[in-house]
Symmetry: D3
Subunit: 110 residues, 6 copies
Amino acid sequence: MSTPQPKPSPARDIVRKVAPKLIDMTEKVVYGDVWERPGLSKRDRSLITIAALIAMYRGDQLKGHLERALANGVTKDEIGEVITHMALYAGWPTAMTAGQIAAKVFEGKN
Amino acid sequence: MSTPQPKPSPARDIVRKVAPKLIDMTEKVVYGDVWERPGLSKRDRSLITIAALIAMYRGDQLKGHLERALANGVTKDEIGEVITHMALYAGWPTAMTAGQIAAKVFEGKN
Amino acid sequence: MSTPQPKPSPARDIVRKVAPKLIDMTEKVVYGDVWERPGLSKRDRSLITIAALIAMYRGDQLKGHLERALANGVTKDEIGEVITHMALYAGWPTAMTAGQIAAKVFEGKN
Amino acid sequence: MSTPQPKPSPARDIVRKVAPKLIDMTEKVVYGDVWERPGLSKRDRSLITIAALIAMYRGDQLKGHLERALANGVTKDEIGEVITHMALYAGWPTAMTAGQIAAKVFEGKN
Amino acid sequence: MSTPQPKPSPARDIVRKVAPKLIDMTEKVVYGDVWERPGLSKRDRSLITIAALIAMYRGDQLKGHLERALANGVTKDEIGEVITHMALYAGWPTAMTAGQIAAKVFEGKN
Amino acid sequence: MSTPQPKPSPARDIVRKVAPKLIDMTEKVVYGDVWERPGLSKRDRSLITIAALIAMYRGDQLKGHLERALANGVTKDEIGEVITHMALYAGWPTAMTAGQIAAKVFEGKN
């Protein structure tokens, strides 16, 4: 019922004080239910999640989801391809920002 | 004709040097005119303003408008509900970022 | 546990065939749970929902939520004020599109 | 004090009934004031307006502003270049939609 | 060097008259180069493309890319899961609109 | 074939390690090809690029493109006008953030 891989981000505890119901739904609906559905693999879910975060320029959440993607079997090279592909569909600025965030995540992983 | 509550943010003086007409309109059109219209209460205007800022992921402006919302009678719990509600309409990433900004604003208020 | 007012849009039945889990969550999480929470009145929830839809230029969903807003006690004049306010926070194009959609909804209500 | 060229769109009269203050500001602030400021030529203002509308995917307003751009001296070929340039900064989908809208506007002008 | 599957949309010929360079790049850079790179499978590229289009509310392009996704081996059920997943990351309105577009595409395929 | 003015940002070297193809396209397609097309002047291309970046709230890329705009002959006052104009089309928050970024760029130029 729960994803073993990356630990919940500290953001979750900070936000819990402000919006406890939101974190309750994060745990029960987002990670406890939808991410666990068998209709798409975890790797597929990570691919579409990081694609959406890059395209929408949601930098704050991208770092954690890049770590989750690596844990779910998306390789660093594949993340580079996603970022490159997104340049075409969401514009260069979104891809350049994502590339810089990914560079930081990858460094921390070496 | 002017809102008594929160002081103009220092951003206004910084931007005035670059775009004086923008700040002129901020003072005459945004705060001097539309925010003062009786058709919606200040509390209602704060609710819709923070909802829009959260939904559009406009983090830079959210802090000041959360302070204004508190001054206009929106409670901390209600702000938490707005953030939770927005997760459904604008996606989790917008709500998680808003929750972290709200946590900082609320801490500064204790 | 359920909102009595506007009937579910026909969109819900169309989408159910494609993404049944989405509609299940629409009924249990969105309308069955979050909209029913006492932390914000139905009128407040309608105000922030239409503000977010206008700001994000989500025209397809705005019609139904304007009808819901009227059912939840937001007046036509107040909807006009929300649209006007959003012009300042999300830009004129979002407000002009919203105004045209509202005009159609209001006509259908006369 | 007023732009002579394209006539106000019929949208303005429709929206006036719903949000009269919005149209009042459209006439006094948007077209009566900012568009008339000498700091940027009308051609420059048309260029940045259509660039922003394309990038934000605001199709409803693009048609009218393409007509205004032609009236302000932006050529059809230049509009094609703006659309192409925007593909890189806002993504192919925004440009493809803009190209189809421009094709309709240009046809109506032949 | 070219994708065999879905035919170029008629949109391409319409836009070619307005912005020929854009279509030249569509054919050489988007489909002739990036989509053909081996770093991600066609199925993966379709998954991230439709995720991004749904998240950004780019309805005009979604229809064609849903057809391409089906041709690239994404099943109808998987598309339903992508739409459901996107509700959480980009908000319900984006998912509801996508669900209605997918319903039309799937009907045409039966 | 290349723009003489501002040096490539250090971001380009950081992103190259993660997504080398993206930077290859940045150099060959974005700056080596589209920016060099004679259909629009460099000044026009800078105007529409900063307008789009402001409107889409792409702050990370705005600094570099404001420097490029100054190099391409857009004056500081004209940048202030673009920011003011964008407040009307993309909302006040986008303009206020852009104004603060421009203030920093202009200071560094004195």
